[in-house]
Homo-oligomer: 324 residues x 6
């Protein structure tokens, strides 16, 4: 796939040729009875609306032009009502093989993956408890497939850290706070906390689908990430000769209880200090990410972000002291 | 241990010598400043209060005379305020080895265990789906330890079927209704339903302690029976060569969702017809057992059972047509 | 009304002349400022969109062309975006008298009404308790108007069994399960259960309006089906010389409590085994119907039905063993 | 029954002979092994504890000495720990016939019944709507049995106006406020409101038992006062030739909805202004009665009444301006 | 600004020139690709849709043509689908200064402001308690800015009394009922109740913005009207030499608790009779206003108003006796 | 007051003479009819039961011997049923003046007050924002009365940090975590967070009474600590010339919202990152304190602490790795 300009850099009047991901695609009919194609096209830098007014200009299989497909398009950038859009001349389906590296079509973490993986490996190496270190190494270092998925998955479908690499970024951010908390509350077992944070959301790698648009897998809907994580901990602990039952039980407990309440999908409440801490830091990190992103990204005029369904509130954007 | 009369058969004025389980034990002081021992003693047929007015009559270690211990007692049956009680002359701690067969000291199912196990085996043999049959056989037939525990455990600590053998009796009762429901709703996969019922509470064998008084184990409090069951299904399915992922996922789903709501400890809602059915039949069977037992056992005069905390209501005892 | 093809059997390119029910009707304006008529037209086999681009082609009273009216239309079947639609040349209002038998314009139960009524009568005849049998006969056999309404009404406005005959079909399905349950749980009074099921929703015949689109009547909104049923039971029991107060009270209780919870509109909780059973079987039958219909009817590609508001979840469509 | 002093007027050291109601009665055993009888005895002015240390002093049938029975007792008033109690010498069961007028044994309204009935009759006579007036007269004037019960019943078992005559007093108090509200909000139909208030709790005459201690009847537990009231309205409206359906429906609606929420036992929400008003004034009157009584009756030192379970709070007793 | 006809008085075919408030404004594109402007224009008498099909006819700054701006428009009244709309020929932004008196562009109370202020002043003068009278006078009479805002603000953003002057009208209506309630329940301190009603919503003057469309201010979203009112009471009581602490505490309590429940934003429950009364009368008055307005204003055919989100129900419009 | 041994150090058989706080006091009667006095006596190190079998041995005013009074007692230490108790020979009321320093009779923080105050002052001095520093200094440094109360108050009546000095200890612990969190999340305004933590519970100094037993004051019950804090912030900000409105609003918001949910008494939800953080760290610190204290102090045998009503769960006491 040749170089192409990013959506965010486009300007009205320019022409554009390149591959884009169709997040939405709909054939509509005008009041005159003619059909047209309305698209929402995206790359990692953003998205815009696009219109093909004459659908006979579609090349190849018309059925293949649908949501979650890559399209090769040619057209001109227009400004309409203050927003850019594409007025297309040509559209055709593009097979995945033609596109190559998918990552340029999705939002990604601002932190480089290699840097995050290095931080993760250092954290695992710092664990003093041999059983915990072995368990983490088995899952996050030695299991190449899981390691790759863990580095790629978003942290959620629609709540917080919703971008590739978000799961790893979120996990590392909690770990940073967790280290600090273990420094403050001396009674906490730091290695247990570290393990709990690493494990608490790793099952999202199979709960979510994130090859194209983000969604839930069948496993995600029928089983959920928490029960998947428990399965993995048990399988791995079965393999490690002599893994202590007490430790297994406490790790499983942290994972099971980390949503904090039964009605949020945790079948048990946190009943150890470590489980309680992991729950609070996870919840706090996710909510702060939503707030900070809302304040940072919202381009609107007023003092408030739009209503956040995840937080069930709007966020106040004015920072004290006010920027000059 | 020699023969001894059952508590239910005792009459006022008789003397009694034998072993009983101390469900409660407290040293109290009278207003005159003298100490006495107040006990609640039980065998499988019932329980009664007992008093030892002179604690110097305790033989051997006084510390060992406490709740959940077996005691060898000697005394006389008294009637007080319409209730029988024991006025004791002698009390001593009795080691478990002296007692032998515990089952005569706990409430037990009215159905013989061997009959129930035979019914269970027949049901497993009737499963046509080979994967399901193998999985059930591995857990309930070939695993002797689990089979024995499954035949012994109560169904709950305090809600319904609270007696030895109650778990198996409850499971078989649901299975009876499940067969009927699969006859009525033709779209249901009967083998899947049967497996779901068998598996839905089997983890209670480790969630509950029932050697003496009934309670929760650490595993029960920290992990719970549902997650334990999921672990067992996964471990067994890992061992069966070629066990289909789709089937494993649907079985795990039935087990995970069988409490019907997140706030009741199911991390996912029932999303297949089979999961929905298992949830309803389990819930119905437990609640009907409480009602029928309440109506049958309550000796009170009025038309209502005492308030049931499990049902959050009293039950109306008058049956139509009224017994003559 | 002459023969006409069913909507489900139409093919693109065919012409169509006939009567259809307007479920929706809206006059809209195009960007060119011309008005057009957009309709949703239905018969019992389905519905489709229809457009009349020149509203001068409406014959007779334009005001009468609105939702819930029958229309005589003439036009041609078109395919648009994979869906059939009608491009109309002529539209006129058709009085009810012209249409005759309404039933061909509404979704109806798959079971023939006469068969269902026969099953109902046999069930009533099988009731051994003379008081109960008399009461059921008075309402469902001798009261011709109620009998007719009971055979015609849907079971709900939007939850389950939403089609003509749905109330009777739902009632009979629960009765089937109820017979089985009474076979399983011997303590249940079968005749009481049968009466409870018959009576539990019969008030929907006045709670719902179902001559055209389905909705609630004023009586439905202000009083509700449960209180209406209680009124009918009391009126009928007043008429039957010597009807036992105890029985009346227990029947009224089953009806009042069958929604199972106060927040679902039952002013009392089920406090007899029969009331508990009727509640569970009613709830189960309604939810299973939604699931089975969702799995059967959904034409979508994926493994999941659309989100069901009645169930507050999506339903998993993959059946084990997978169809080949 | 001869004259006897009221409990409230007793003084330490006095002897007492007379009839009292046993609200509680228990045979207990002392640490010395002797049995004694502990009673809670009441007349309309109050209650006190009583002890019979030698149960051989019971005359006649010992079984008959139990809660809800009248007893003839003889003894001496003692002060113990700041509270009066009776140290009894003799106790015997007294048949109801011996006691005569029960009303001197129960708490009663401070308002004379005849005055309240006159106020009630005047209110009914003031109703201009002939249908409503006929309906109220039929129930509250012409039905002597219901009229008597309505004048005697308490308003609740344990929440507010818990004394004989409380139902009528509570009803009249709401009616007073209702008149005022109809003067303020001119759109309200005053006669409809008056009828709604009269009818809203009249079913408590059968929901509650109040011959001895206050409790629920079987009808109260299985059907409830609201559904009973609906039955009575319907039966009476059936009898009045030409009673308008619209009016019947609106009256039934006010009664059904007057608890304001489904979870409080109203199967429908108030959907007319009159229904809304009746709900608010009923709720307000009951809660204010609890508060005023709490402030008036509480003899404690502090600024707060004891925790009220009905209000789920304590009430602040300090009145502004403070009494001097 | 010259005279201009009110929206409510317009007739199809008339031409219109004048100033209107743009409640909504959107540039849209037709299927032919041409842009047009769609507006919702309002004055105090109502609102209607308006279209400018050729956006080149906008005079001056196009960016300024947006929601909450005043526009000078010229066009012709059209009827479309039974509703009037404006087909515009010219549109331009109009600065506020050109418009003068805003009040003719917003819904206003039906009661004249001067009449309401006079009623308010008389009520304050009638307060006998000197501390309370001083406090009320300081806030509502002597503080000219607050007095003006109190006379102008709506009572809510979207629930009840949503029009200019609504806050004062709502407050006076509750005061009318409060007087009546204090007449009925003699134990109530009337002056305390009057003060509580005056103060309970006065903070809405800063919680809401109501210069253009109604909304929440930053103070409203971050602090809320209740805490603002507490601040004002405290500040004013600090200024009045010798203001009694007990009275201050009871006034603050009424204000804090008047939403009646923690989940509705009251940090404490009403714990005095006066606080309880203010809560009930406030709630009742708001809900009745919604009902009466719904019944009065709804032009629809049926017996029911549209679903009210504030009441979470539809309201029954049929009044008994039915209007002839 | 002379030296006296601490309760925790007493041994069976020793005699004891000294002052103790009566946490409970009740005159009871034995079955023989003799009165005795039962006490719960406490100093800072613990509490024990005490009995005076002959109440004539009370010197001076018997009425004064009641809960919350100091008593001078003389007696002997007894062991009963494994617990120590006092068998008293003499008891008399002791006026507060005789006792001197109260602190030896209440549980106190393990951290010395002077150390905590120094830490507090250093934190205030470290605040860079001049407005925030001034506000904190005015309240916590310059207001000697508030400073003293802040150093003495417990953090709650019954949830966490329930001992003298607990409020300050809890505040400093959150501040420690808050510093760490601001190091981790760079977008947070550290000074705003510090101020929020300082202010969030300072009103407990007037919400709680803690001179004797811990309880709520009238102000606590009617107004609550949050609204009191808002009053203090506003009063102080009014006094500081030029205090910015924006800052005042954000500080008030943090305080108002720090309980996190409306149903927990916060009238607004946290809508800034700083408010969210303060809520989470406060909640976490309180809950961890309960857990750690439960694990540390519980002397029971099992693996679980007693059920904690504050946490609505039991806490697992087994620490990984297990102590050897």
């Amino acid at each position: 796939m040749p170089e192409q300009p990013q959506i965010r850099s486009l300007k009205s009047g320019e022409s554009f040729t390149g591959h884009l991901l169709a997040q939405e695609a709909a054939f509509k009919t005008s009041s005159k009875g003619s059909e047209y194609l309305e698209l929402k096209l995206a790359d990692a830098s953003g998205d815009l609306k696009a219109f093909l007014w004459d659908i006979r200009a579609i090349e190849g299989d018309m059925e293949a032009v649908k949501a979650d497909a890559f399209l090769k398009v040619k057209g001109r950038v227009d400004e309409y009502n203050g927003r850019l859009q594409l007025r297309l001349d040509k559209v055709r389906f593009a097979p995945d093989s033609e596109v190559g590296d998918f990552s340029q079509f999705f939002p990604v973490s601002r932190r480089p993956v290699t840097e995050m993986l290095a931080e993760m490996d250092a954290l695992i190496a710092s664990v003093k408890d041999p059983w915990i270190r072995k368990l983490l190494a088995a899952l996050f270092v030695e299991n190449a497939e899981l390691r790759a998925a863990f580095a790629k998955a978003p942290a959620a479908k629609s709540m917080h850290h919703v971008y590739l690499g978000g799961l790893l970024e979120h996990t590392l951010s909690i770990l940073g706070m967790a280290e600090r908390a273990c420094g403050h509350y001396a009674e906490l077992n730091r290695d247990l906390v570290v393990a709990g944070v690493f494990l608490h959301d790793v099952g999202k790698t199979t709960e979510l689908s994130y090859e194209r648009s983000f969604g839930y897998t069948d496993q995600g809907n029928l089983v959920g990430h928490i029960s998947t994580e428990v399965q993995w901990i048990n399988r791995e602990a079965d393999r490690i000769q002599g893994f202590p039952d007490e430790l297994r039980m406490q790790l499983v407990h942290i994972v099971l209880s980390h949503h904090g309440k039964l009605e949020f999908g945790s079948p048990v409440l946190p009943k150890t200090p470590e489980a309680l801490l992991v729950h609070y830091l996870d919840d706090l990190d996710g909510k702060l990410e939503i707030m900070f992103r809302g304040i940072r990204d919202d381009g609107g005029d007023g003092n408030w972000t739009p209503f956040s369904r995840a937080l069930e509130r709007m966020v106040y954007k004015v920072r004290w002291p006010k920027a000059k």
